[in-house]
């Protein structure tokens, strides 16, 4: 393939994804199945366009790492701690029960005990990538079944660590004394991520945010995730677990929404690539040679895991109508099985033939998940399941009714007023110093650019009712209004207008609610001056009211008149009118007293 290899490969992957995924979604099969089928189509057993499947698969596993980072970002430590029961109970139960049964079956099938342990470990794990991606795609994460499945997956991600550590021991090459050193290294790295992830990255984020160079922010976000992944790899830990941890630590930081926005597209693409690779790696040659054995393995695996999950769903009180969903979501083999079997093969524990067979079974079970989910009745009516399961439970995203874009001198007043009424408000700003200060006083301020619709989306624009645009820059304000009108037509926009002409522009764009930023404070000061000149306080206030009403009328008259020329002449007329109007008001006041009031 030569020098064009990289670009050509990229072209093939992207083309396959672009063709297969929308088609699969249109047919109601979901994106995961679309990717998997695209992989089958372009892989060695399909069109044969791609050959180096193994290394692509390895690279694409990073998509899972990014996925876990994003999941972590949506779970703060408090929420994670509150999930400890399902994680340990459901997750622990699943791994131990499934592993035990698989071990027994493997022994019965005549495997040597060390191999049986390996097979039991590898096959007890489910696919985080497939399960979470499907859950997210169908918005099922907030449901009981969704959160239970997530707990199990999280436990599995943790369980991979000792499993990987056990392989050298099983292969007989483990060094007894090294265990302590390893444990110390592990503790050091995890401690480093906990401390560094918070105390080191936040100041760096602040510095980078202050430069307002978006690509550097993106670069640093990726750098952070990749760095943590490498660190974890260096001590033979799960990369996904490390980045998940980092995500949890950053979940309460002001950069949470912006990080989500930056990482999301990379996650999507890499995860897609991962599914494509799984599709490509399905060895149809082997399937053709020993079809009954392979199908038996797949069906056996799905049945055994599904049965265990069903029992757990019953034990842990998952609603009747969600038990099947829970079982189907997690009954496949997972990507960690690939990792474990590869490690075992390297340690000479697993020979090539068996590895190929197991890998094929796992890949086919992954392919079967989206197909099996089609059988699940609620799956076809996601809204029903969602309404039922998600009702009483807290959603992972925020659901504040108001978003304020811009927390400078102007937005701050609006925000404080709302805060004082306990109205939950999500605030976006791009000045790290402002953000830090405001957060100290308990405001939910996030670093982010309101011009980006994806940022607004992660800030909860889909659930919010109102968007207050309080940014300084009049042009940016108009641009935000335009884009929000297109992307989130349900959002009511309340905008800060720079001056009359800016207000006109806003009105022309269909922004019904705007406030000229200077008008009220200038009127207030005018009132003050009137009082210093001897007007009574009430009288001065009345004058300001009269002026405001006239000014508003003038505003709409000017709006009607489009030509600039005309605007100027109307403005002159208006001044003349005010000169007439105010003395007239004075006369009216005295007149009233003439007519009888004392």
């Amino acid at each position: 393939m030569g020098e064009h290899g990289l670009l050509l490969n990229a072209f093939i992957y992207l083309a396959a994804a672009v063709l297969a995924v929308p088609l699969a979604k249109r047919l109601g099969l979901g994106s995961v199945l679309g990717y998997l089928l695209a992989g089958v189509a372009i892989g060695p057993w399909g069109a044969g366009l791609i050959s180096d499947v193994e290394s692509i698969l390895h690279f694409a596993e990073f998509g899972v790492v990014l996925l876990l980072f994003l999941i972590g970002l949506e779970l703060n430590p408090r929420r994670l701690w509150s999930m400890r029961r399902p994680i340990l109970g459901l997750g622990g139960g699943q791994v131990l029960l499934t592993g035990g049964l698989l071990f027994g079956v493997a022994l019965l099938l005549g495997l040597e005990w060390r191999l049986a342990v390996l097979v039991a470990m590898g096959l007890s794990l489910s696919s985080t990538a497939i399960a979470l991606q499907t859950l997210q795609e169908r918005h099922l994460l907030p449901t009981h079944a969704g959160r239970s499945a997530f707990s199990v997956l999280l436990f599995q991600d943790i369980a991979v660590i000792p499993m990987l550590a056990v392989i050298p021991l099983l292969a007989g090459s483990g060094e007894p004394g090294g265990g302590w050193m390893d444990a110390a290294k592990v503790a050091l790295v995890i401690g480093g991520i906990v401390v560094g992830g918070y105390y080191l990255t936040l100041p760096v984020f602040r510095i980078i945010a202050a430069t307002r160079m978006r690509e550097i922010f993106t670069a640093f976000s990726l750098l952070l995730v990749i760095g943590i992944a490498l660190l974890m790899q260096a001590v033979d830990l799960s990369m996904a677990l490390g980045t998940f941890l980092a995500g949890v630590l950053l979940a309460e930081s002001e950069y949470r929404h912006e990080l989500e926005t930056e990482i999301e597209p990379f996650k999507g693409l890499l995860l897609g690539l991962f599914f494509i690779s799984v599709g490509m790696s399905i060895d149809f040659g082997l399937l053709g040679e020993r079809p009954w054995l392979v199908l038996g393995l797949v069906l056996g695996l799905l049945t055994l895991k599904g049965a265990v999950l069903w029992v757990l769903a019953l034990r842990f009180g998952i609603a009747d109508r969600q038990q099947l969903l829970f079982a189907l979501l997690l009954c496949q083999g997972g990507e960690f099985a690939f990792v474990l079997f590869s490690a075992a093969a390297q340690a000479n524990l697993l020979e090539g033939g068996l590895k190929g067979l197991l890998t094929l079974a796992v890949a086919l079970s992954m392919l079967s998940t989206p197909l099996l989910l089609l059988l699940e009745p609620h799956w076809r009516r996601p809204e029903a399941a969602r309404a039922e399961g998600g009702r009483a439970e807290e959603r992972i995203e925020e659901e504040n009714p108001v978003i304020i874009a811009g927390f400078g001198r102007f937005g701050r007043v609006v925000g404080r007023l709302l805060h004082a009424q306990r109205i939950p408000t999500t605030i976006l700003d791009h000045d790290p110093n402002q953000i830090e200060l405001a957060r100290q006083f308990g405001y939910q301020v996030y670093y982010g650019e309101a011009l980006r619709m994806d940022t607004l989306r992660t800030a909860g624009a889909e659930q919010a009712r109102l968007l207050v645009i309080a940014v300084d820059d009049p042009e940016a304000c108009l641009e935000v209004a335009d884009r929000v009108k297109r992307t989130f037509p349900h959002l009511i926009i309340v905008a800060r207008a720079h001056d009359v002409h800016h207000a006109f522009e806003l009105h022309r764009r269909g922004v019904a609610y705007f406030q000229r930023e200077i008008l009220e404070s200038a009127l207030g000061m005018g009132e003050q001056v009137l009082r210093l000149l001897g007007h009574g306080a009430y009288q001065a206030k009345q004058r300001a009211h009269v002026f405001r009403a006239r000014d508003l009328k003038l505003f709409w008259d000017m709006y009607e008149a489009d030509a600039l020329e005309k605007r100027i002449s109307i403005s002159r007329e208006a001044r003349d009118e005010l000169e007439r109007v105010l003395p007239a008001d004075e006369a009216a006041l005295s007149g009233r007293e003439e007519s009888g009031w004392s």
């Binding site: 009430y538 001065a540 006041l589």
Partner: protein, 190 residues
């Protein structure tokens, strides 16, 4: 038991355009040099009708005689005084089992009218006497345990000569002085 504590008068002055009311200016002028009188100009203090309830209640606590001085707009006071009453004479302060802050204090209406005295008779323009028309204030005082004094009324305010104005100002001053010389509320029989 005789108390030598000074008598305190609180004048609630309620006029939106004092510069345009000769008579109300004259009345205020006539009492301006008296000690122990606080004039509270409500329109000046609360031009947007947002009233500092705590401050107002504090002032009331310190007063023995409360005067409502205002023009008799539509057989009542300007809206400001009604708003003031609504928020300041609150449950637990002015009425209710705990609301005893005003008990024993005196309330005096000092009002100015456009029509002459002859209008406030069954056969006049206004058909009712001032005493009848001021009943809402009288009953408000009663409800709060206050003693409602005979009102001080200046009729035909727009038609008064300078001499008349002078005369009414002095009468107002004498009335308040008389109150100042009495013992404070609650100690009159002591």
């Amino acid at each position: 038991m005789v108390s030598f504590a000074a008598m305190n008068i609180l004048v609630q002055f309620v006029h939106p355009h004092p510069r345009h009311s000769r008579v109300n200016r004259q009345l205020l002028q006539a009492i301006s040099d008296l000690d122990d009188i606080v004039v509270n100009d409500l329109f000046e203090r609360y031009p947007d009708f947002y009233i500092d309830v705590e401050r107002e209640q504090e002032q009331l606590r310190a007063a023995d005689l409360v005067v409502f001085q205002h023009p008799f707009y539509w057989y009542s006071a300007p809206a400001m005084l009604k708003q003031w009453l609504d928020v300041v004479f609150s449950y637990g302060f002015a009425f209710g089992s705990e609301g005893t802050a005003l008990q024993g204090k005196r309330l005096l209406s000092a009002v100015t009218t456009g029509h002459g005295a002859e209008a406030y008779r069954p056969d006049g323009y206004d058909r009712f006497s001032m005493k009848e028309l001021l009943r809402p204030f009288e009953q408000t005082a009663f409800h709060c345990g206050m003693i409602y004094e005979a009102p001080f009324v200046v009729h035909g305010a727009r038609r008064l000569s300078d001499a008349d104005l002078q005369h009414h100002g002095e009468a107002y001053r004498r009335l308040l002085l008389m109150h100042l010389k009495q013992n404070p509320a609650g100690n009159r029989h002591g």
